[in-house]
Amino acid sequence: MTLAHARSTSPAPGSGVAAPSHRHGGGLAAGLVVLVGVLAVVAFVSVTLGTRDVGLATIWKAFTDFDPDNTSETVIRELRVPRTLVGLVAGMSLGLAGAILQGVTRNPLADPGIMGINTGASAFIVVSIMVLGVQGLGTYIWFGFLGAAVAIFVVYGVASFGREGATPVKLALAGAAVTAGFYSVTTGVVMTNVDALNELRFWQVGSIAGRYWPVFTQTAPFMAVGVAVALFSGRALNGLSLGDDMAVALGQRIRLTRSIMFVSVAVLAGAATAACGPIVFIGLVVPHVARALCGPDYRWVMVYTALLSPIILLSADIIGRVSAGDGELQVGVVLGVLGAPAFIALVRRRDLAEL
């Protein structure tokens, strides 16, 4: 018996998962540099663009030599910059939450929006404000986390019902059910109060317009923690993506891993929703774009997603600002309209495989 013979049958554990990153590490790193550049450009456009035309000089001056009496400089400093920063961290959070969910549930169609997690957060926030009289973002963000966690628990639990466990279809349906339930309860709660109803309808579409500094400073720390956990979870997700049995066989503690992953999704989605309202599809589409660019290794997918998501969210926000003649389209609407065709195209692909 020769070694050459033996080689042909010996298993190569995890070969398909980890190998490419070593080979193309250089190319992938270069891709990151490009993405950082694109993100910088998009962020810059987001700060510059708006009904009030401001030149480069004004922007520069707003930071180096701020004059509080100059309206243009104030708009930049107090409106556009925080709005852009909120979009940046919220986009990053939603994208990473989606990537984690896709990995943990091995479901190519997982998304914090589709799975009802954002609606859960939003419903808890609305109810806490309306019924419990909670005031201030710093307080109600906790209800956002709680709502997101409850939604994850219910959706994942309900979808696991039945023989095949949590299949993509069941996760999506359970998410839709939870969304419908939260929606009608939320609306029922505010129905009698016209002012609250008025706020709810703007909140429900998801937007980063009118988000000032406090919104950023009170939500960003949470999102930063979530993003950090997400960026370090690539290896764990690679393991989980082989299936529970395989992951256990390879020595992973899947319950612990899954719990940590779900908690970080609750933090990411809860904080992003507290900042912008429920936004769908970012978490769904971006990880797929990332995989198309960098392959299936989650260590790279997470980094690419972290950069691509804010690019897409801010671009959608910019599109919303320039496309509507009077006023603007909320970023949630733009993403819904652009994201749905992407989702449908994904579903129609014949080889839609489990991740």
Binding site: M1, H5, G162, R163, R350
Partner: protein, 269 residues
């Protein structure tokens, strides 16, 4: 009653490429035909094509002189039954209910459940040994019990031609032999024509009147097992070096694989 089932110039496939292309095949009437071949060579595809589950890309399937596509689907279903390789059962369905659904082609909107249906279901369940399971939910059965229930459903359809895709999967060796004996009974006593896909070559050779060896969507050899199956054919179809001996029970060919760690022991030892 005699039936003719054959395919002319039949091409079948799913994606851009054909799985089976320009195939001619005739199923001998009143015989047991077994299709063998490696995984993914197109056995199930051919069976689905013959049972008009897959529309031909070229050519046609002829049943009793007429193109199957031109016949009404229920008419075909009264003559030709098929058990798919991986059938799906609705949640919570009981054994009797599932077997009863095999009677669909014999009913219509004015002709509902009848005594004849009861008799067919009872006979099918009795002969597959599933009568005691009648009121159990399918989900509470073992893999082999479930498989026998599915076979019972195909038999309840009460067709002269029965196509079964790997009916012995999940069955222990005793139940494999029992099921094949049962199919032989049906063949001998009721002159049913039976076509099955089997992976066990020895059982295939023993029970087949006619064997079809497929590779990559084409028929490599066909005929009586004793004439067709030899070491060269098995090696060609499965890529497996082997010895072929006469089966001590039935004198049909018996395949003994070699494998890389086992070479034949010299006779003199």
């Amino acid at each position: 009653m005699t039936h003719e089932l054959r395919a002319e110039d039949l091409s079948l496939g799913y994606g851009p490429q054909d799985v089976v292309s320009h195939l001619d095949v005739e199923i001998p009437d009143g015989k047991i035909t077994v299709i063998v071949g490696a995984n993914a060579c197109g056995k199930s595809t051919l069976l689905r094509g013959l049972a008009r589950l897959l529309a031909p890309r070229t050519g046609s399937v002829i049943l009793d002189g007429k193109r199957v596509q031109d016949l009404r689907s229920v008419e075909v279903a009264r003559v030709l039954g098929l058990l798919p390789q991986t059938p799906v059962a609705p949640d919570g369905i009981t054994v009797a209910d599932l077997v009863g659904r095999g009677r669909y082609p014999h009913q219509s909107w004015f002709r509902r459940w009848s005594a004849e249906d009861d008799a067919a279901v009872a006979a099918a369940m009795e002969s597959t040994g599933t009568a005691e399971l009648a009121d159990r939910p399918l989900s509470a059965l073992s893999g082999g019990q479930r498989q026998r229930v599915w076979v019972a459903m195909a038999l309840a359809q009460d067709t002269d031609l029965v196509l079964l895709d790997e009916p012995t999967t999940y069955l222990d060796i005793n139940h494999q032999v029992e099921l094949l004996d049962l199919l032989t009974d049906l063949n001998r006593r009721h002159a049913k024509t039976i076509v099955l896909v089997l992976h066990d070559l020895n059982l295939a050779c023993r029970y087949a009147d006619h064997i079809i060896a497929m590779k990559a969507g084409a028929i490599i050899r066909e005929g009586a097992p004793i004439d067709v199956i030899d070491a060269a054919v098995v090696t060609e179809v499965f890529g497996l070096p082997c010895e072929v001996l006469p089966d001590p029970v039935s004198r049909t060919p018996m395949i003994v694989p070699r494998g890389r760690h086992h070479v034949p022991v010299p006779e003199s030892v």
